[in-house]
Symmetry: C2
Amino acid sequence: MDKKIPYKIYLDEQEMPKQWYNVRADMKKKPAPILNPATLKPVTVEELEPIFCTELAKQELDDTTAYFDIPEEIRNFYRMYRPSPLVRAYCLEEKLQTSAHIYYKFEGNNTSGSHKLNSAIAQAYYAKKQGLKGVTTETGAGQWGTALSMACSYFDLDCHVYMVKCSYEQKPFRREVMRTYGAQVTPSPSMNTEVGRKINKEFPGTTGSLGCAISEAVEAATTHEGYRYVLGSVLSQVLLHQSVIGLEAKSALDKYGIKADMVIGCAGGGSNLGGLISPFAGEMLRGEADYKLIAVEPASCPSLTRGKYAYDFCDTGKVCPLAKMYTLGSGFIPSANHAGGLRYHGMSSVVSELYDQGLIEARSVEQTEVFKAAETFARIEGILPAPESSHAIKVAMDEALKCKETGEEKNIVFGLTGTGYFDMVAYQKYNDGEMGDFIPSDEDLAKSFATLPKVD
Amino acid sequence: MDKKIPYKIYLDEQEMPKQWYNVRADMKKKPAPILNPATLKPVTVEELEPIFCTELAKQELDDTTAYFDIPEEIRNFYRMYRPSPLVRAYCLEEKLQTSAHIYYKFEGNNTSGSHKLNSAIAQAYYAKKQGLKGVTTETGAGQWGTALSMACSYFDLDCHVYMVKCSYEQKPFRREVMRTYGAQVTPSPSMNTEVGRKINKEFPGTTGSLGCAISEAVEAATTHEGYRYVLGSVLSQVLLHQSVIGLEAKSALDKYGIKADMVIGCAGGGSNLGGLISPFAGEMLRGEADYKLIAVEPASCPSLTRGKYAYDFCDTGKVCPLAKMYTLGSGFIPSANHAGGLRYHGMSSVVSELYDQGLIEARSVEQTEVFKAAETFARIEGILPAPESSHAIKVAMDEALKCKETGEEKNIVFGLTGTGYFDMVAYQKYNDGEMGDFIPSDEDLAKSFATLPKVD
């Protein structure tokens, strides 16, 4: 083993990024604008302000400013868990007997267990700065809700989380972490909102859905004085905040003179992938370097590999702006895949446009092989990965095995977005040999594509 | 805030300890020898060999060698999660408005979630080196079992964990982490061992106890060719391995010219406390420096503050060697305290002797105030602490508040042994206001003291 490069490359605190990077600024062809669902015209900051914090609405629509200063308060919070390590996977390399050099950027070393905290603290900060009382959001698997609870507790903001009822009941520990951080967690659909009451009446006994929880959270924000709605993925502002992942990874590689050959990330709404690849894609867009950028998605929810590039609703309640994105249609109901964070019908418009321009390639993988890769990784690298992150592990291992055949010493970098400590039900299914694979049929997709709005 | 000292002090990998430190070597009055339960005479390496790996048996009995080289294979494993950060708790200091400087050594950034991995990997290594097939152990709360599963998976060793039946049923996620790492997890008492069958017959429907699980694990090790028994706390070999915590903490402080005024650790069997304070106690023993060393234990299981210093059985099955230690008697049954790792009737003989010599002081704290401190810490420092670790947080906060009154700028260092991600049932009880405090009465203790053997 070549130990000149340490197992974990840590940046010093003074080497941490002082600015976020907005990859849209370097795109000649920009992502299509998001549309007001009522007018189908590009939405303005003013139109977004009743829903989002003003500063965040501005970030959302700004596709020309390349760098945004990270406020000192946010950098101080980042210092509690960042810089995150870029880990050289020496043990995995040896296990695979590969000539490739494998690196992963590990975002799971914080209590939220994932990268979500990077944007949660930014969104909470701008809400606090605007003098708001609190924020509302939805959560499915619970990673985003946990991250936001932590961020709000730090800035002493109210945090109301609408948690999909089946998760609320099946993941009591996630719920309790949020409560420990002082969040008010409500199973959705609830009787607190008009939309919740309507859905409860229409579908008695329903265990809820993410789409419904979003609608409840948006209604709660817009009908309560001093509250705004916040979201943990898909949005361009979120990718902006998450660029801290890629910027740190890039700096850590540069520190040791390592040139990445490929950068791999799992992709659900695109928050992690977009953040990780942004600075690499930026260099490609500016013609400074070339990388192979790979998005990995579950075969059960294949928005990039089998979706259409079209305007679609971001939520099933159809209250949020429309975005042009690779999508399976907002009516798509993903199967019971255990990577809850990747069960989204669409994809960030920034990632979608980069994919459409050919800067990113996409792969879809099935969950049993993902868990097999997760198990191998856990046993040899000592970290029990989140099911979502394990999608990237699977493809990184595949690529490393290709290098083994060719003898190439490629530098493979992937994003390890989080830990799987709250996903043990999924691991149990895998351990018991009871995990299945679910791939939507062409007929299924044709049905959900029929839910696409007629816009362009 | 004085930011010259970073939020997290990381040592470079080349600054990691290359040797473990054995504090017994610097003690003029040594801990009393452990005794063979059959002969009541000091046990020999030969007598320990059927139970323990030979190298570990030697480490157990060696009270004169000050430093033991850490084998390179173990150091390579350490590099995956060590050096662990020494964190300056700037946010907690501001929250408390204290003049004290608070530091914590955080051992929770690994999948086992605690410091237990430091010794697990050492014990697995020596078992592998001896050519054994595998090891057996017991686990209560599950931290040790998880750590050992990870270590055995790394060295490709069989790992049989006897898990107290009530934990096996109530903590399915801990069980699944161990299974993911390839361990065979058996609810104890089982029908696999003579002692298990006997207990099941005698007490039908019993949900088990740690003492019973130890007896099963020892029987399984001694009746199967190529297996040995390993233990995660109490033993002097474990404290030796855990000295890596204190050595790193000391180096990190030295790097920034910080002189600790006090070092605080939670104490169950003594593995974390002993490891953390060893190098500090060593300086005191050699007359080089003075520190206030504080052991914190639960009021529900107060071996140091209310126990007797006497020879006692280490296990309720009475198959292990006897040790002289502060003990409540092996018949002591601790109440349903949520800090499972601190529910042990005795205390490491090294820690006990240092306490008896006046080098360590001890405090006992009640669990509701411990969880209150845990909640405060989680909200402001961003880490959800293990209930065990939170005992140290509570006393560190108390000491910081004393400094606030006096205006002293003391340097307070405490051990944050792990995270509480698998302890959310306890947090839920606290969140719901349903947590109680349990303090044994003098009558309870008199009864359990009556179970002490007549030795000295």
